[in-house]
Amino acid sequence: MDTFKLTWNITETIQDWLVSIMSENAANITAMVLVAIIYLTLFAVAGLYLVLLERRVAAWFQLRLGPNRVGFQGLLQTMADALKLVSKELTGTVKADKFLYNLAPYFVIVTSLMALAVFPFTKGFQAFDINIGVFFLIAISSIGVIGILLGGWSSNNKFALIGAMRSGVQTISYELSIGLSLLTMVLMTGTLQLSEIVEVQKSGWLIVQGHIPAIIAFMVYMIAGTAETNRAPFDMVEAESELGAGFHTEYSGMKFAYFFLAEFINMFIIACIATTVFFGAWLSPFGITESIPWLGVFWFLLKAFVLVFLMMWFRWTFPRLRIDQLLTLEWKYLLPINLVNIMIMAFLVWQNLIIKF
C-alpha cells in the first residue's frame, strides 16, 4: 500500500492541489493549461535535443564528429540554431494563399504535440488516459499530412506542390500498414486503452507474448513508421536533389523550424507507440524495478530512445527509394504481409497459443 502512494497521476495531483485553493471549474481549466504548458516546454526542448542527437549520431555513422563547439560537447548548438531561426525574416511568395500558408506549420506541430498527451510515461504520468488511445493516435497522426498538403498547395510553387502530393501519396499509403500492424497487437490485448495495454504486458511484453506474428508486426510497424515520418530512406517529400526542399520550399525562419521540429517529435512519437504497444512501455525488464514506480519514466525513455536510434540507423544506412519502389513496397509487400499476419495472430489468440509468464 505504501508503494502505491508513491505513484501519482500528473493531472489529478495538480487538480487536487488547485481545488484546495479555488473553485472546481476554475481549477479544471487551470490544471489543463498548466499540463499543456508543461508538455509544450518539455517536448519543445526534447525536439531540440533530438535534432542534436540526430546530428551527432549521423556524424558518428559517417566517421565524423558532429557539432561539438557551442557549449559542452555541442549541447547548446540547437538552442543557438533555434535562436537564429527566431531572428530570421519570414518570407513567402507574392500570390500565396496567406491564411493557409501561415496555418500549415501550426497544423503539423499541434497534431504532433496532441499525440504526446496519451502516452503512459509511467504509472499515472499520463495527461489524457482515454479508452480509445490507439485509435486516437492513428487518427491524430494522419492529420499531420493535411498540414503538409496545405503548406505545399498554398505556397504557389510547383516544387512545393509536387512535394506535398508525394507526401500525401506516401503518408496515406503507409497509414494503412501502421493501422494494421497496431490492429494485430490490439487483437491480442483486446483493448484500445494504452494504460490497459500496459497492464496486459505485466505477464510478458507483447513482442514476447505474440512471438512470430508480433515480431512481423513490429518490423512492418518500424518500416511504415519511418515512412510515415518522412524520414530517409523514405524522404521523397523533401528529396532535395529533385525538389529543392519539397513542401517547405517557400517557408523560412520559425515556420520552417516548426515543420522540422514536428518531424523530430513525430519520430519520437513513432518510437513511443512502438514502446507502448510492443515493449511494455514503462515496465522494467523482468520487473526488476517494480517497487520503484517513478523509474518507469527512465525505462520508457530508454526503450523509446533505442528505437529512435534504430530509425537513425536506417536513415544513415539505406539509400533513398524511388516513388514507384516506395509504393510497391507498401501495396505489394507490407499490406499483404500485414493481412496474413493479422489472420495468424487471430488464429493464435483463438487457439490460445500466446506465451504468458
Binding site: V57, A59, W60, F61, Q62, L63, R64, L65, W313, F314, W316, T317, F318, Y333, I337
Partner: protein
Amino acid sequence: MGYFSNIYKGIKSLLTGMGVTGKYFLNSRKGAITQQYPDNLDTLKMFDRFRGEVIMPHDENNEHACTGCQKCEIACPNGTIEIIWDRGIDEATGKKKKKIDQFVYHLSMCTMCGLCIDACPTQAIVWGQNFENSVYDRTQLTRVLNKPGSKVRAGVED
C-alpha cells in the same frame, strides 16, 4: 517464388548494410576523419594531392625552373596565367635569349584544374598546400610568382 525470395534478399541486404554502418558507428571515436581546424594548426598537414594554389619553387640561390615557354599560359582555359617576358643577353653564350620578367597568377580566376602544371615541361610550377586564401581586397589575389631578382636555374633548358 520470386516474391518470397525478394523479401528474403531485401531483408538480408538491409541487415548487411546496417552491419557496415554499425561497425562505423562503434569505431567512430577512434577513426573520426574530421579535423578540428583552428585547434590543430600546428599539426595540420594537407594531402599531397591537395590543390591549394599554384606556386613556383625557388632554390637557395633564388633560381627557378621557368624558361618562359608560355605553355602554361596557353593551357589555361580561363586566362589565369599571364607571362610578361623579354629577351636578354645570356651570360654564358652571349646570345639573345627569352626569359620571364613577371609570372602573373590570378588566383581569383583559377579553377584549380591543373592543366598548367600538367603542361609545364620543366616542373617550374607545382601545387601549393595553402588553403587560407580569403582576403579583403581582390587585388591581393593577383600574385607574381617569380621572386624579385630571380633567374632560370642553369641546365634547365638543355
